[in-house]
Amino acid sequence: MNKDYTYAVARIRSRELALLNNKDIDNLLNARGYDECIQYLLDKGFGDDGSAKTDASSMLSAERKKIWSLMSELTDDLSPFDVFRYNDDFHNLKVSVKAVTRDVDPQNMFMENGTTDGEKIYDCIKAHAYNLLPEHLQNAAQEAMTALLQTGDGQICDIIIDRACLEAIMSKAQQTNSEVIELYAELTTAVADIKTAIRCEKTGKSLDFIQRALAPCKTVNTDMLAKAAAKSLDDIYSYLSGTAYSLAVDALKKSPSEFEKWCDNKLIDSIKPQKSEPFKIGPLAAYIIARENEIKAVRLILSAKLNDLDLSAINERLRDMYV
């Protein structure tokens, strides 16, 4: 990607000042309740300016919209950032396939920040017009629909769509030729594979099923991981000890949430060098990742405050911040 992002990066540098730092997270944690947290976030510029809605869900949804509205302002071509939007696309595909086969109304179930409108995906699935879908969704849509109609097994449908999503992310990331985006894709795919392998081991899935669920990536040999997952958890840990994820084994042994935290922290740590890159796409991608990480942390704190959970339990799950 040889495009010059000097203007966009300069704007992003100013925007980075508004990102929540560790002190803000501490302030949120120490707030006396949910309402105080919401007020603190409103003071920090969270939420939609024109809206009277101040609940966590609409506030965080507005924040995610703001990310993409800013990116649209910064660059006329959003396609290099599609890797961050494919999750929403494939979520919408999953919703559409299940809504069509079960004849339910998918309203309010679509994610808003995909590359394609959720309603459009639903209409194409309903009409079986797979060729009208974006290219990255066509095969997965057809395969998932066929599988769901033939077997009625939602899990098969899920693994087909989840794997297609990871494959699309990997494929798109390679086209961008951006180190940060490729790293994001690699980590996302590898982590999803590891989580799938652990889940499959715990639910006693067959080797064939596991191999079908895992998406290929560079840092994990999916064939070896699948074989390990078909045997035991210790075999998975043993295999991972010899990979780039050896340090994650301890986290995996503790809990799935500890592993997710390890992965998110590794990603945030890996994108930190982008703070000194003035010309390329990296800082924009890093900003998207940092904002998503921030939204995740805020969501965690708000739901904990709403349910009066223990502070230490939240602290354990909180990720490192980008700034």
Binding site: D4, T6, Y7, A8, V9, A10, R11, R13, S14, R15, E16, L17, S276, P278, F279
Partner: protein
């Protein structure tokens, strides 16, 4: 072909202006793009980013200065325009340091200014340190200017 000396001299003046000016235009342009990005978010930083943007402009001025000197020495701006081919070539050679050092130093100073603009957009209190880094690149443009000027001033005294 009798006036080939003045042709070479003029070519030297043109190179000094063209190459150093091109470098400055690229450098100032790049820094300007970054400065616009910062101003879109925070217009109060106008004064600071303007200084960063102007840093790569000096090479163009140095090139212009050397070109003026050459033009006056070869008689284009008045005086005797009959100079030898050898002296014409010497003026051409004298213009090369500022032409090329001006071109490359301005481009790299522009890149350095862009990075500096990024720094002050996040940490305005680090303005003093941030401006020193692109200013270091200026050293090499000044060295080239010095050599070009010394050469242009002393060519008329040579017995050739």
């Amino acid at each position: 072909m009798d006036n080939l000396g003045i042709v070479f001299g003029l070519l030297g003046a043109a190179l000094a202006t063209f190459l150093a000016g091109t470098g400055s235009a690229i450098g100032v342009g790049k820094a300007g793009v970054a400065a616009s990005g910062v101003l879109a978010e925070d217009p109060s930083k106008f004064g600071k980013v303007l200084i960063f943007q102007l840093l790569p402009a000096t090479q163009g001025i140095y090139g212009l200065l050397v070109a003026f000197l050459i033009l006056s020495k070869i008689g284009v701006l008045g005086g005797d325009p009959n100079i030898s081919v050898v002296k014409g070539l010497l003026y051409l050679a004298a213009s090369l340091p500022i032409a090329f050092a001006g071109l490359f130093s301005a481009i790299h100073q522009g890149n350095c200014s862009v990075a500096g603009i990024g720094t002050i957009s996040k940490k305005p209190d680090q303005f003093g340190k941030a401006i020193l880094l692109p200013a270091m690149v200026e050293t090499y443009a000044i060295l080239a200017l010095l050599i070009s000027m010394l050469a242009v001033f002393n060519i008329p005294g040579l017995n050739l």
